[in-house]
Symmetry: C2
Subunit: 444 residues, 2 copies
């Protein structure tokens, strides 16, 4: 019978953290010396460095170099326990979390479940669009892109050819801009060498943005430069446009404009995914959980939330903080300190977000960076972007591998990971309560 049997009450207060994203692992880290039992529950056994998922999806990096096993991250932290499970609900009366492997009592609970892709309630789009939110998403997209070109070789029907060669990316935020730029680079430097029998003039890359400018979260200079770079790379950018429908073949925009594609990449926003059991009074728009300045969920003494899932609504931040890594990491760090303060009955420190700015890369030598100290675009911005991402990647080995891959791609104009890797059944896979089964069609 599955349970948490090996996590024994040792008299110390138990902090249960749901989710090992940027906020969750910062919190675990900052509890390293705490006299607590720290239990991290995640549905993956690894942290994912989400900002570089798009490079896995576009054959620039191998998946393993941007994910890092939790047990490895914290192997030197004696108070750390990890369990691979999905939390299904929480019981705030009994103070337990219900999971796919049984239930666990908590003294303090931290929701760090992050956000999921937002399809704005459109089930048809949800069914057919391709998200890039998890490592599995990224690998599936890579397989999809490469399979499309293998398929394109097999048809002479012009419309089918376009449906396989053309890409529509929805969302003009950093992810959408970065995916569009990376596809444009593949179109220019890589695919023509791989698929000599195809004419890549025919490969159209469309980027659909709902706002009048790209990178709405950033400065006008950044947004305008990003647009200029993408157009220079041959990407068709459509501003002030929304996708009305997509059936897996035809995309229709709000103005009736249509595109034919088997690849609608959805980067149009995220929404929080609160867990059953949280009082609905605490759930605000965007599916986020309202927290006070100490990241405590409103209406609870012992439940906290941080990162994308947490909406810290104040006079300065009426919308809460941006759903990005930096606020999550800063909140995780502070909450670690505050939990220890709380337990020893000392006063807590309110959270103040230190905005370090925002950046996006469009491709080779092209990035846009808004920092407190400077706004810059182009080659220097691109160097800053690479530096900041490199030092942020979890795990020294991963950092080294990413650096080498980037240098290799830069000098060779190549993307090495053009691999369609199929999937295989584990004959004796331990059958797991409520474990979903996914299927994948491969060529092999």
């Amino acid at each position: 019978m599955h349970n948490f049997t090996r996590i024994i009450d040792n008299g110390k207060p138990r902090v249960v953290i749901i989710g090992g994203g940027f906020g969750g692992i910062e919190l675990v880290k900052s509890l390293k010396k705490a006299d607590l039992q720290v239990v991290l529950i995640d549905k993956h056994n690894h942290h994912t460095f989400q900002p570089l998922l798009y490079q896995v999806a576009t054959a620039g990096l191998e998946a393993d170099s941007i994910i890092h096993p939790f047990r490895k991250c914290f192997e030197d932290q004696p108070n750390f326990y990890f369990r691979l499970a999905e939390v299904t609900s929480i019981n705030t009366e009994k103070k337990t979390v219900e999971t796919t492997i049984g239930h666990l009592r908590y003294d303090y609970l931290v929701l760090a479940t992050g956000a999921t892709t937002n399809y704005y309630g459109n089930e048809q789009i949800k069914k057919h669009a391709i998200p890039i939110k998890s490592i599995d998403d990224a690998i599936a997209l890579r397989n999809h892109i490469l399979s499309n070109f293998e398929q394109a070789l097999l048809t002479e029907d012009e419309e089918e050819l376009n449906s396989l060669m053309d890409y529509v990316i929805v969302g003009g935020g950093p992810t959408g801009v970065e995916v569009a730029g990376a596809l444009a680079e593949l179109k220019k430097h890589v695919f023509p060498k791989d698929y000599k029998e195809l004419d890549f003039i025919k490969m159209d890359i469309h980027l659909i943005q709902g706002a009048p400018r790209l990178l709405s979260g950033m400065s006008d200079e950044a947004g305008d430069k990003a647009l200029a770079y993408l157009e220079e790379f041959g990407v068709d950018v459509w501003l002030d446009r929304f996708v009305k429908s997509y059936d897996g073949y035809t995309v229709e925009l709000d103005n009736g404009q249509k595109f034919i594609t088997k690849s609608l990449i959805w980067a149009a926003g995220v929404v929080g995914s609160p867990i059953d059991g949280i009082r609905k009074e605490s759930i605000v728009r965007g599916g986020r959980v309202q927290v006070d300045e100490y990241n405590r969920v409103t209406g609870y003494e012992d439940i906290f939330a941080l990162g994308d899932i947490a909406a810290m609504i104040t006079a300065q931040t009426p919308q809460g903080h941006p759903m990005m890594a930096p606020p999550a990491m800063q909140q995780g760090k502070l909450l670690g300190k505050n939990l220890q303060q709380l337990i020893s009955g000392k006063p807590l420190t309110p959270f103040v977000y230190k905005d370090q700015g925002c950046m996006a890369t469009i491709g080779r030598n092209r990035a846009v960076v808004d920092l407190k100290v400077l706004k810059t675009q182009g080659f220097f911005a691109w160097l800053i972007w690479m530096f900041v991402h490199l030092i942020s990647i979890v795990g020294y080995r991963n950092r080294l591998l990413v650096l080498i891959n980037w240098m290799w791609s830069y000098f060779s104009y190549d993307k090495g990971m053009r691999l369609i890797v199929g999937h295989k059944k584990d004959p004796n896979a331990p059958i797991h309560k409520q474990a979903p089964t996914t299927t994948q069609t491969t060529f092999s």
Copy 2:
């Protein structure tokens, strides 16, 4: 409709090669300057460096660093065409190959389909045992091993615990020996740090070998040293034993001895997989296709076979050549020359195998090497093993990544890739004639 429409008759003889293993890619390479149309058909879009699959399975290397896209391998070879497909049969009358994407006419056909895992006709074992023959096998095994320990944390039942922590490896050839050694290293250096709540004294690793000695293909010194090294690493080696049955839980040997395990790793041998349409008179034991000294399939003028699938039965090689990379590569290289000779009506050169010896690594600083010039075991042998494998890996980038991973693991006593990577459906996956669908249960 799927077909080979973009491979146009250009008046040049068309060589169709089925399979891009060691033999197949050597053949393509040696046809680089040939005035031919060279078509490679494979069910993967990448070459797999099989000798290191076991390191992917045991978290030592990322999958992407030992596989290399065919289109990348031959991007500078104008006469090269690749198609991602599975060959279902051959029509030697019409001179066509029937595939999952349609049929293609050939002037010369080369079978380089390699070998598959040999279960010696035991369907029950085939159903439950875990093979290591493809990159998907290796990733599935890695997921399986890590999932087992996550599961082990959830039980207090001693028998279930053993079934999850114990491993039985069948086959005392290089692969079996290397897997056993790698698991022993994980047990010693890695898993105890990852799973502090488990007692790794309980992790048993059994290696079952049918012959009276390990590494039957190699010298007595090599076999005896391998045994000594494995026992030093705490592996239980059972010589002169066969597996009678395995139901996914209980392994029974020919002497009635039983082991409880959810992980029976099958490395007990391979068997050729000939394609429908080859006259059965040409198919010899082990499912191999009989060829003459020019790798021409007996009874045909225009069909050739090389590597594992080819049995070149001569007075010196009554069993054909060993089913390993070196004979395949040497045959591929020579066949490339001979095909050009044949077309220009010149005499062919008979194949003579240059045996470069054989080697296996047991783990850190421990390998056994039999070369023509010397037989050695231990640290020096281990260096030779690494050097030979490094220079053999296809792709400079892959070589560099493998080298870095090896150095990293060596100095850190760590294996970085302890990642359970789930699988995801491609919503708009181009549906492919006869494409098999595999399913995978994940925790996430």
